[in-house]
């Protein structure tokens, strides 16, 4: 079942209570999550205020920027008795730079409403252009531009991306127990919040 509550704020608090400990276990409790709110909407962004590129992390290949964004909305349940949390968009991105106009190198996106004229999968992974140039691989006798591919994914949990940062990008976890904390959090998500991955 999705996150529900008697009031909109209860839904948002449940989500925060779920998110806070896993981010702290992976990346440390020195980070802030900025919660921009307007009634039935809340947008969460990891990082100091006014840092559009997110937080600076250090991995095995040097420093980089990690951005985590969630656009959340609460709607009335079908019986009109409770409120239900919906994810309108998420975006997890890894960048070499914190420049506001520089494309992220890797990103996982979900948009509830695909823009008109677009037909790609709502949940997808994309490789960015580097210094304005496409990252390409040879494919038959052609060139495949990885930036043009919206590689489909399931619903990507924050826990999955945190795991990626630790195991693939070489970020040192704050907690020795990070793996069990992430596993418990993933399990809780599927048992208590959603039985679906997409």
């Amino acid at each position: 079942m999705p996150i529900t509550g008697r009031k909109p704020g209860e839904c948002f608090r449940t989500f925060r209570d779920h998110l806070g400990p896993v981010v702290a276990a992976a990346l440390g409790d020195q980070h802030q999550v900025i919660c921009r709110n307007d009634g039935n909407k809340s947008s969460l962004t990891l990082g100091p205020p006014n840092s559009a590129a997110g937080v600076k992390l250090t991995g095995s290949r040097g420093s980089f920027w990690f951005s985590l964004r969630q656009n959340l909305e609460v709607l009335r349940t079908d019986d009109k008795k409770r409120w239900q949390l919906k994810t309108r968009e998420y975006r997890y991105a890894i960048s070499e730079s914190n420049d506001e106009m520089t494309e992220a190198l890797m990103r996982w996106d979900y948009v509830c409403n695909v823009p008109p004229g677009k037909q790609w999968c709502k949940h997808h992974f994309q490789v960015g252009r580097v210094a304005g140039k496409a990252v390409t691989v040879p494919f038959n006798s052609e060139v495949l531009d990885l930036n043009r591919l919206h590689t489909p994914t399931g619903f990507v949990l924050i826990e999955y991306v945190l795991r990626f940062l630790l195991t693939e990008m070489g970020v040192k976890a704050t907690s020795d127990d990070w793996e069990s904390i992430l596993e418990r959090s993933e399990s809780k998500f599927f048992k208590e919040f959603s039985g679906r991955t997409s």
Partner: protein, 74 residues
């Protein structure tokens, strides 16, 4: 090693009109356009993958300027 309890959550609550003003300021500062024009470009794929596009989309969501959620959406 200690187990950090949680990150800090910092609330910033504004009206939809105030979020639109923030979007206007962002769009003017970075692309010299009004927020709705810049957002239309973002939706068309311009500035793809940039923090600017993500930030503007977030502000327009809060301002109620994005598309409404379909009734039967996931």
């Amino acid at each position: 090693m200690s187990h950090p309890a949680s990150v800090q959550f910092v609330d910033d609550t504004r009206t939809s009109g105030e979020w639109l003003q923030a979007a206007e300021a962002l769009a003017q500062r970075l692309v010299h356009a009004d927020a709705r024009t810049a957002y239309a470009r973002v939706r068309a794929g311009e500035y793809e993958g940039t923090p600017f596009a993500a930030e503007l989309s977030q502000l327009m969501f809060l301002a109620g300027e994005d598309q409404p959620l379909p009734h039967a959406a996931e």
